[in-house]
C-alpha cells in the first residue's frame, strides 16, 4: 500500500479525476506504484510542486496556426538556453550542435555551448532545465529517432555534467525531469495546450507528443520510457481514442502501438532493473552520460515490485484508456525476441529485386550461401499476412508509399576466413558464437547484418526472415527502422525426439529441424532407440536394428544419419544422440540375448517402467565390453562433442531376479551399485577416447554411487525441484523437467486396459507453463553458470508422424525463447508473437496448432481473462 506522505491516494480513479488533480499539481514522474495485493491496484501520488508554466518561449507554436500545416517549424529557432533570446552564441551552438552529423563539429559546438558559462559547474539547475526544455521542443518538432543528431549532441553534452561524487549526471537528471514534465503537460486534458481531438490541430499535438515519447525512449535506451507511456495514456484521455470521426486517431494509434511494444514487449525494460545490472543500457549511454534512470516500480514503498507487475499495470492502463480493439498493429513477429531491439514506425517494403549480398563475407562458406537462398525463398514464399482483423488491408496506402529495401548485406566481422555454419554448430558448446547485429534503415538504404561467425550470420538471417508480412504481393514491415543487437542467454536450446516408441521417417525429422532453426533452437537431442525398437543401424552391430526395428524400412542407416546430421548442422543444430543404457534396452535381446536381463519379464510393472522389460547385464564383463564398443561405434556416426548414455529408470528388481547378474556380482564381489559404476566408467571412457563428453539423465548423479567425470552434463527430467541438487554437485545441467517441458503429458494414459487413467505427468504442459520457467531458481551465482540451457521433449508413446507437428509446435518454441532471450518474459505479451510465429510455421508447411480462435489471434489481449 503506497501513500505519499505529502499527498493523498486515490484508488482507481476515473481519468477525469486524475486530470483535474493533475491540473493543480505537477505529477511526479515516479508516481506509478503498485500495492502488493492481488489486484495490482494502482495508486496516484501527487506532489505539491506547482506546474511549471513557462513554455511560452518555445520556438514554434504548438497551437495550430496556419503556418504549421505547410511547414511546422521550417526554420527551427531553438529556444536559447539561459532564457535570453539575444544570446546568439548559445542559440547558434545549440542549433548547430544538435543538427550536425559530424562528430568533430558536434564536439566543437558542445564546447562553445558549455563554455559560454566558463565551465560546466557554472551551469545552475535552472540553466540545465532550460537547456532540457530546448531539447524537448526541438524533439517535438522534428525528432527522427535514434539516429537523430539531437541524441548524439545530448550524449556529448552529458560528458560535461558528470558529478563525480554522486555518480549522477546533472544534465541527464534535468532531461528526465523536464522532458517528462513537458510530456505530461502536452497530454493534460483540458489544459490550454492540451490535446483535444475535437480541435482543429490536435493531430499536430499528438505528433509532437509522439516525437517526444520517441525521444525520451531513445534517451533512456528504451524505445519509450514507461513514464512516457503512462502520461501518454492518462493525459490523452479516453475521448481521443474513442472518437471514431477523427481520422488521425488510427494513424497515431498505429504509431503508439508500434512504439509501445518495441519498448515494452522487449526485454529491455526488464534488463534495466537494477538487479539485472542494467546490462542492456547501450554502452555509449552508460559510458558517456551515466543516465540516472530509475525505475519507478522499484521505488515503491513495500519493496521492489517485479517487472511483470509493472507490465500488468501498463497493459491495464492501455486497456482502460485505449481499449485494445483499436490496437491493430501490436504484434510483430520475432520469436525468440532479440535481446536488444529498437523499432520505428516507418513502413518499408522489400524491392522486387531485393537480394541478400554476401560481398561482406570473404570466402563465404557454401552452407551460408544456402542459408541465404533459403532466407530469400522464405521472404518470397511465406506470404504471411499481418495478424490484424483486416490482415493488413488498412496499411495498403502506407505500404504502397513505402520506401523499398533493395539489399541486405552480410558482414563477417570475425578473424580470418569464416568457418562453415556446420562446423560452428557442432563445435564445443562453450565455443559457439551466435551473436549478431542487424540494422534495417527506414529510408531504404542497405540493411546490414554483422556477426563474427557464420552461425551468428545465420541467426541474423533467421531474424530477418521474421520481420515481413505480405499484402497483395508486397513484402513489408511497418516497423522500420529496426536495430537489433542479439545473442543467446544460454548456449543449449534443445528439443528431444524419441524415435523408438514410434518411428519417424527422415522427412519428418528434417521438417522438425527446419522448424527448430526458425526459432533458433540449436540442439536435437535424439533419443533414437529404446526398449520397444532399435531403428539405428550401428556399423558392426547391424543385427540389432535388423532384428529390433519395427520394420525393415523403419531404420536409420549411417547414410540416413549423415543426411540428418548434415541437414541439422547446416541449420545451426547440433545432434546429441542418446543410446540409453543400461535400462531401456530390452530390444537388444533379439540380437544379443546374452546381454539382456529379465527380457520381457511379466508383469512388466515389476521389472520396468514401461513394457517390455529388459536391461543390459551391467555386471557381466562381456556386456560391459559390448556396450562400450556399441556406444563408441554409434557415437562416431555423429560429429557432436556430446553423446548421451541415458542412465534413467534402472530397475533393481530386474537384476535381482536375473540369475546371471547375481552370479556375476557374486564372482566379482560387487554390489549392484559398484557394478553400475564399473559399467558406467567403461562406457564413458570409451566415449572419451573418441572425444565425446558424456550426457546422462539425472539419476546417474543423484540416485547412484557412480563416478562421473566433472564435465559430464546432467539432464534433469523428473522434476524441476531436482535442479538445485544437481547444481550442488557442480555438474553442468540441461533443464528437461517433466513438470514444465514434457510435451506428451495430458494426453491420457497409454497403457492398455486402463479406463480412467490420465498420463502420469498430467496435466498438459501449456506453453505458458514452460514459458514461466525460471532456469536459475534457487541457484547461487556460481551455480547459475552451470546451467547450459534446456529443452522441450517429445516422448513418442502416443506420437507419430501424424501428430508430430501438432503436439510439438508452437509449444516447443516457448523454451526456445526462454533460453535465448532469457527468463522473465510475460505470457500475455508474448502470445501475439507466438501466434505470429505459429502462423508463419503453417505458411512454411509445419502444422503448428492454433493457440486460440483466429478472432483472438487477430486481436491481441481481447481474449485475456480480464479483457
Amino acid at each position: 500500500m503506497v501513500l505519499g506522505s505529502e499527498g493523498r491516494s486515490e484508488k482507481q480513479e476515473p481519468p477525469g479525476m486524475i486530470s483535474s488533480n493533475a491540473r493543480r499539481y505537477r505529477v511526479c514522474p515516479n508516481t506509478l506504484t503498485l500495492d502488493n495485493g492481488p489486484t495490482n491496484t494502482w495508486y496516484y501520488r501527487e506532489c505539491r510542486v506547482p506546474l511549471i508554466r513557462h513554455y511560452d518561449k518555445r520556438p514554434c507554436s504548438l497551437e495550430g496556426d496556419s503556418s504549421m500545416s505547410s511547414s511546422p517549424c521550417s526554420a527551427p529557432t531553438p529556444m536559447p538556453p539561459g532564457g535570453d533570446p539575444d544570446d546568439n552564441l548559445l542559440h547558434q551552438a545549440f542549433f548547430m550542435g544538435s543538427t550536425t552529423k559530424n562528430d568533430e563539429v558536434r564536439k566543437t559546438w558542445a564546447d562553445s555551448l558549455v563554455y559560454s558559462k566558463q565551465n560546466s559547474s557554472n551551469w545552475t539547475d535552472n540553466d540545465l532545465q532550460e537547456l532540457s526544455r530546448a531539447f524537448a521542443f526541438r524533439a517535438i518538432d522534428t525528432y527522427e529517432g535514434p539516429f537523430d543528431p539531437l541524441l548524439d549532441f545530448i550524449l556529448v553534452l552529458c560528458s560535461y555534467f558528470r558529478d563525480p561524487f554522486s555518480r549522477k549526471n546533472r544534465l541527464a537528471d534535468a532531461l528526465e525531469h523536464e522532458v517528462g514534465n513537458i510530456f505530461s503537460f502536452t497530454w493534460k486534458a483540458e489544459s490550454e495546450e492540451s490535446v483535444n481531438p475535437r480541435t482543429a490541430h490536435h493531430d499536430r499535438y499528438v505528433a509532437g507528443a509522439l516525437n517526444l515519447a520517441k525521444f525520451m525512449g531513445d534517451l533512456f535506451g528504451l524505445g519509450l520510457h514507461i513514464e512516457a507511456l503512462r502520461h501518454l495514456v492518462i493525459h490523452a484521455g479516453p475521448s481521443l481514442w474513442d472518437d471514431s470521426d477523427w481520422s488521425g486517431s488510427e494513424i497515431y494509434m498505429t504509431a503508439i502501438t508500434q512504439i509501445v511494444p518495441s519498448a515494452l514487449n522487449s526485454r529491455s525494460l526488464y534488463d534495466f532493473l537494477p538487479e539485472r545490472g542494467g546490462s542492456w543500457i547501450p554502452s555509449k549511454l552508460v559510458d558517456q552520460c551515466e543516465v540516472n534512470v530509475y525505475i519507478t516500480e522499484t521505488q515503491a514503498v513495500g519493496g521492489p515490485i517485479t517487472f511483470e507487475k509493472g507490465w500488468i499495470v501498463t497493459m491495464l492502463l492501455l486497456r482502460t484508456f485505449l481499449g485494445l480493439s483499436t490496437i491493430t498493429t501490436f504484434v510483430y513477429g520475432l520469436w525468440p525476441l532479440p535481446r536488444g531491439i529498437t523499432t520505428g514506425t516507418t513502413p518499408l517494403r522489400l524491392a522486387p529485386d531485393f537480394s541478400v549480398s554476401l560481398d561482406g563475407v570473404r570466402n563465404a562458406p557454401s552452407d551460408l550461401a544456402s542459408a541465404v537462398s533459403r532466407t530469400q525463398e522464405y521472404l518470397k514464399a511465406d506470404k504471411l499476412q499481418a495478424l490484424v482483423p483486416d490482415r493488413g488491408a488498412s496499411s495498403r496506402t502506407a505500404v504502397a508509399g513505402a520506401r523499398s529495401l533493395r539489399s541486405l548485406r552480410l558482414v563477417y566481422s570475425g578473424q580470418g576466413t569464416p568457418k562453415s555454419i556446420s562446423e560452428e554448430a557442432v563445435a564445443a558448446i562453450e565455443s559457439r558464437a551466435e551473436a549478431y547485429t542487424l540494422t534495417v534503415p527506414a529510408d531504404g538504404s542497405e540493411a546490414v547484418l554483422t556477426a563474427s561467425s557464420s552461425l551468428g550470420l545465420f541467426r541474423g538471417l533467421t531474424t530477418f526472415g521474421q520481420l515481413w508480412y505480405d499484402l497483395d504481393g508486397a513484402t513489408y514491415s511497418l516497423q522500420a527502422p529496426i536495430s537489433i543487437n542479439d545473442s543467446p542467454a544460454y548456449p543449449y536450446r534443445g528439443f528431444m525426439l524419441d524415435t523408438a516408441r514410434n518411428y519417424f521417417p527422415i522427412a519428418d525429422i528434417k521438417r522438425t529441424l527446419d522448424a527448430m532453426s526458425w526459432v533458433k533452437i540449436n540442439t536435437l537431442h535424439w533419443h533414437v532407440v529404446d526398449s520397444q525398437s532399435f531403428p539405428l543401424v550401428v556399423p558392426g552391430f547391424n543385427v540389432i536394428s535388423e532384428k529390433g526395428a519395427y520394420h525393415s524400412k523403419a531404420i536409420y542407416t549411417p547414410a540416413d544419419v549423415k543426411e540428418i546430421v548434415d541437414y541439422a548442422a547446416a541449420r545451426g543444430i547440433d545432434v546429441l544422440a542418446e543410446i540409453d543404457t543400461p535400462g531401456h534396452t530390452s530390444i537388444i535381446h533379439h540380437s544379443f540375448p546374452e546381454h539382456i536381463a529379465c527380457f520381457e519379464a511379466a508383469p512388466w510393472t515389476q521389472f520396468a517402467n514401461e513394457p517390455p522389460a529388459g536391461q543390459l547385464r551391467l555386471a557381466s564383463p562381456a556386456t560391459v565390453k559390448f556396450t562400450a564398443s556399441l556406444l563408441s561405434a554409434a557415437s562416431q556416426l555423429f560429429p557432436s562433442k556430446f553423446f548421451s548414455t541415458g542412465g534413467d529408470e534402472i530397475n533393481a528388481n530386474c537384476y535381482r531376479q536375473d540369475p546371471q547378474t547375481q552370479r556375476d556380482l557374486a564372482a566379482q564381489g560387487k554390489t549392484l551399485e559398484q557394478a553400475l559404476d564399473t559399467f558406467t566408467q567403461a562406457s564413458h571412457r570409451a566415449l572419451a577416447s573418441v572425444g565425446k563428453t558424456p550426457v546422462v539423465w539425472q539419476e546417474m548423479l543423484l540416485d547412484h554411487n557412480v563416478t562421473l567425470s566433472k564435465d559430464t552434463v546432467i539432464m534433469v527430467w523428473i522434476s524441476s525441484q531436482n535442479v538445485a541438487a544437481v547444481a550442488r554437485e557442480g555438474h553442468r545441467l540441461v533443464h528437461a523437467a517433466s513438470d514444465f517441458f514434457y510435451l506428451d503429458c495430458g494426453g491420457g494414459g497409454w497403457v492398455g486396459a486402463n479406463t480412467n487413467g490420465n498420463s502420469w505427468c498430467d496435466p498438459f504442459k501449456t506453453w505458458q507453463k514452460s514459458y514461466s520457467f525460471n532456469p536459475v531458481a534457487g541457484l547461487t551465482e556460481a551455480q547459475k553458470k552451470l546451467v547450459l540451457g534446456g529443452q522441450h521433449l517429445l516422448w513418442a508413446e502416443q506420437a507419430g508422424p501424424s501428430n508430430l507437428d501438432s503436439i510439438v509446435w508452437p509449444r516447443a518454441a516457448s523454451s526456445a525463447e526462454l533460453f535465448w532471450t532469457g527468463p522473465g518474459g510475460n505470457a500475455r505479451t508474448a502470445l501475439p508473437r507466438l501466434h505470429d510465429i505459429a502462423y508463419r510455421f503453417v505458411q512454411r508447411g509445419v502444422r503448428a496448432i492454433p493457440l486460440q480462435p483466429e478472432w483472438c489471434a487477430l486481436r491481441p489481449g481481447k481474449c485475456d481473462l480480464d479483457a
Binding site: G323, R501, N502, S531, Q532, S533, H551, S552, K553, A602, W604, T605, P611, P612, G746, G748, G749, W750, V751, G752, A753, N754, T755, N756, G757, N758, S759, P763, F764, T766, W767, Q768, Y771, S772, A796, E797, G800, S802, N803, D805, S806, I807, A827, L831, V842, R847, I849, P850, L851, Q852, P853, E854, W855, C856, K862, C863, D864, L865, D866, A867
Partner: protein, 630 residues
C-alpha cells in the same frame, strides 16, 4: 502378491475379438482360414435382381474396390503378417462379392419405414437423410473360406454401404517377398483376410444417431478437410455430421439473401463456405451415409452478426467479456425485438430450406442474462411488450422453431433450452446434452429425444490447456483430456428407465475448435471419435449384458487407426507400435491398481513388523483390484 492379467488375456482370445472390425458387428462369427482376394475380384449385383443401382451406390462400390487394393495395411502382429506367407500360397481366392436385396429382412426389421418394397433402390443419399429413426442401415455379410462368392444382403442402399464398409475392414496386405526395398507403392503383394469364413448375420446399429460435431467458427476448416472427416466418419459407420458452422468469432456461412453476414463476418474472403460448398459437403456426406445437421446457434453465440447487422445484436464486444459471455467476444441477438425475431426467422429459413436433412440445430446454449440487462434496446422492447426475458425467449424460440417446422425440420437444441429456460418446445424437439452426462436423464424425463454429447466423456478439446490469453498454468475448463478409454466406458442408457431409454437417439464426440484447425484436426479427432461410433452402433454391452471393455477394444481400435493412416488421415498412435503389435502386453491392471500395488509393496517393505496389517490391507483390496495371493 501379483497382478493378474490372465483373465483379461483369456477373454480377449476366447471370444475371438482380435479382429480388425470397428465398430464390431453385433453378430460376428469368424474362422481361422486365410483367404486371398483374387486379382480378378469383382463386386456385382445379385443376378436377375432386376433393380437398377443408384449412381451413389456404384460410386461406393468403386471406392471399395479401390481401397481393397490400396489400403495396403499390414496385419498388426509381430512380423506384420510374415507368418501368413506360407499359408497364403495354398489359400483360396475370393473373386466375387455379390450385393443382394434381402426381402426377408423387411418383414423382420424393427424399423418402421416400410418403404423399399419395390425393386427401385433409392440412392444412399436419400436414405441417409431420411428422418432419424426411420433409416435402414442393416446388412448381413457372408465370406466363405473356400473362395465361393461372398454376399452382402441388405434392404436398402444404405445398408449395402454399411456392409461394404465392413467388408473393406476384413482385408490386410502382405507385400511380395522380393518387394523388399520397394516402397509401399509397389503393387506386388497379397490382399487377404485371416479369419475366413466370416459370417455376420444382421448387423444393425443400436442407435440411429452416431455423430461427430465440428466447430468451424472458432477456426476455419477448408472444404477438403471436412470431406476427409466425412470419409473417416463413414469408415466407422457414423450417420450424422453436426456442423456447428458459425459462432460469435466468425460467420463463414453464406446464407442466400444474407450474404453480408459472411462477407463481414468471415475471417477472410477465403474462409467462407459458399452455397455451392455447402451443397457439395451435404452431397458428399449423404453419399457416404451421413446426414448433415447444421446448427446456427441462437440467440447467444452471435456477436459477429453485429458486423453486418448491428441493430440486431445486444452488447456487442462488451467488456469485460467474462460478464457478458462465456467466451470473447460478447454479443447476442436482441431476442425481445420483433425486427430481430423476423430477421432470425428468415435467416434460419433461408439456409435451412437449402438442406436436405430433416433436422436443424438452433443451439440455445449459454444465453447471458446480463448482456440483455445492460442493453437499452432490449430493456425498452421488454418494457413495451410487458414481457420478462424468459417470455421473450419463449416467443423468440417459438417463432424460429415454428418457421423451421413449417419447412419440415425437427429442431435440435442444446440442453439449456429444455432444462434451464421456460420455453415451450415441440415434443419432437431433439435435445443435445453437453454440460454433463448426468443431465441426460433430466431431459428424458421431460420426454424429449436425447443426443449424448457430454463434455465429461465426449469433448475432444479438453486437456489441451486453457486457451484464454493470460491463463498461465490454467488447464482447460473440462480437464482432463477425455481419453478414448473414458469415452468407451460411456453408457448411453445409464440412469434411464426403459421408456426413457427409447428416447435416446444416440450420441457424438465433439470438436470445439478454439485450439484446433486443419493442422491438428486429424490427430485430435482420430481415432478417438471412432469410439462413440462403436458405442452407438454396437452398443456398450455384450449380448450377455456385460459391458465391453477397453481391453477388448484396443486392438481393433489400433487396427482401424492404422487403416486411417493408410488412407491419409493423420490419426495418432495410441501406444508404441511395439504394443500395437502385441495385444494385451502393454496392459496394466488399470492405473489405480498399479498405484495401489506400489503403495502396498512399499508398505510391506518399510513396516515389516506390521505384516498382519499389510496382509489385511492386501486382502481387503485384492478382490477389488485384481490381486492374487502369492
Amino acid at each position: 502378491m501379483k497382478l493378474s492379467f490372465t483373465s483379461i488375456y483369456t477373454t480377449l482370445h476366447a471370444v475371438g475379438l482380435v479382429n480388425a472390425l470397428w465398430p464390431v458387428p453385433r453378430n460376428l462369427e469368424t474362422g481361422t482360414s486365410l483367404l486371398k482376394l483374387s486379382p480378378s475380384f469383382d463386386i456385382q449385383f445379385e443376378a436377375g435382381s432386376g433393380w437398377s443401382p443408384p449412381q451413389d451406390l456404384l460410386d461406393a462400390i468403386s471406392r471399395t474396390n479401390y481401397r481393397l487394393w490400396n489400403d495396403k495395411l499390414g496385419r498388426l502382429v509381430v512380423g506384420r503378417g510374415e507368418d501368413d506367407r506360407e499359408g497364403l500360397e495354398s489359400a483360396s481366392s475370393l473373386s466375387l462379392l455379390t450385393l443382394a436385396l434381402d426381402s426377408h429382412s423387411q418383414s423382420t426389421t424393427t424399423n418402421d419405414d416400410g418403404s423399399s418394397t419395390s425393386h427401385s433402390l433409392l440412392p444412399i443419399s436419400v436414405e441417409a437423410v431420411k428422418d432419424i429413426g426411420t433409416r435402414s442401415e442393416e446388412y448381413s455379410l457372408k465370406v466363405p473360406a473356400d473362395g465361393s462368392p461372398a454376399v452382402i444382403k441388405a434392404n436398402s442402399s444404405l445398408g449395402l454401404l454399411r456392409g461394404l464398409t465392413t467388408f473393406e475392414q476384413l482385408w490386410h496386405w502382405l507385400p511380395a517377398r522380393d518387394a523388399g526395398n520397394a516402397d509401399e507403392g509397389d503393387a506386388r503383394g497379397v490382399v487377404y483376410a485371416y479369419q475366413a469364413p466370416v459370417v455376420i448375420e444382421r448387423d444393425y446399429p443400436a442407435f440411429p444417431y452416431r455423430g461427430f460435431m465440428l466447430d468451424t467458427a472458432r477456426n476455419f476448416f477448408p472444404v477438403d478437410d471436412i470431406k476427409r472427416v466425412l470419409d473417416t466418419m463413414s469408415l466407422v459407420k457414423m450417420s450424422v455430421f453436426h456442423w456447428h458452422v458459425v459462432d460469435s468469432q466468425s460467420f463463414p456461412l453464406t446464407i442466400p439473401g444474407f450474404e453480408e453476414l459472411a462477407q463481414k463476418g468471415a475471417y477472410s474472403s477465403n474462409e467462407i463456405y459458399s452455397s455451392s460448398d455447402v451443397q457439395s459437403i451435404v452431397k458428399y456426406a449423404a453419399e457416404r451415409g451421413i446426414d448433415v445437421l447444421m446448427e446456427i446457434d441462437i440467440p447467444g453465440h452471435t456477436a459477429v452478426i453485429a458486423n453486418a447487422y448491428p441493430e440486431h445484436i445486444a452488447c456487442p464486444g462488451a467488456t469485460p467479456w467474462s460478464q457478458y459471455a462465456n467466451e470473447p467476444p460478447a454479443g447476442q441477438l436482441r431476442l425481445a425485438s420483433s425486427a430481430t425475431t423476423n430477421f432470425t426467422v428468415s435467416m434460419l429459413s433461408s439456409i435451412a430450406q437449402t438442406l436436405p436433412s430433416t433436422m436443424f440445430g438452433t443451439g440455445g446454449d449459454e444465453i447471458n442474462t446480463k448482456c440483455y440487462q445492460k442493453d437499452p434496446n432490449t430493456q425498452e422492447d421488454l418494457k413495451r411488450s410487458g414481457a420478462t426475458l424468459e417470455k421473450a425467449l419463449d416467443s423468440f424460440t417459438q417463432s424460429t422453431h415454428g418457421a423451421l417446422r413449417q419447412l419440415g425440420k425437427k429442431v435440435v437444441v442444446w440442453q439449456e433450452m429444455a432444462l434451464d429456460h421456460r420455453v415451450s418446445l415441440a415434443n419432437d424437439t431433439i435435445v443435445t446434452v453437453w454440460i454433463s452426462s448426468k443431465h441426460a436423464a433430466k431431459v428424458a424425463k421431460k420426454g424429449f429425444r436425447v443426443v449424448h454429447a457430454p463434455s465429461d466423456y465426449f469433448y475432444l478439446d479438453c486437456g489441451g490447456g486453457g486457451w484464454i490469453g493470460n491463463s498461465a498454468g490454467m488447464n482447460s475448463w473440462c480437464d482432463p483430456f477425455k481419453s478414448w478409454q473414458k469415452a468407451y466406458t460411456f453408457d448411453p442408457l445409464a440412469r434411464l428407465s426403459s421408456a426413457e431409454a427409447s428416447l435416446v437417439l444416440g450420441g457424438q464426440q465433439l470438436l470445439w475448435a478454439e485450439q484446433a484447425s486443419p493442422e491438428n484436426l486429424d490427430p485430435i479427432v482420430w481415432p478417438r471419435a471412432a469410439v462413440s461410433a462403436e458405442i452407438f452402433w454396437t452398443g456398450p454391452r455384450h449380448p450377455s449384458g456385460q459391458f465391453r471393455t477397453v481391453a477388448e477394444a484396443l486392438h481393433r481400435l489400433h487396427d482401424v487407426r492404422f487403416r486411417m493412416v493408410q488412407r491419409g488421415v493423420r490419426a495418432i498412435p495410441l501406444q508404441p507400435q511395439w504394443c500395437a503389435l502385441r495385444p494385451g502386453q502393454c496392459d496394466s491392471g488399470g492405473l489405480p491398481s498399479m498405484v495401489w500395488g506400489f503403495v502396498l509393496q512399499k508398505l510391506a517393505k518399510v513396516i515389516e513388523r506390521y505384516k498382519l496389517i499389510v496382509s489385511l490391507l492386501t486382502t481387503k483390496y485384492s478382490e477389488h483390484l485384481g490381486f492374487n495371493e502369492p
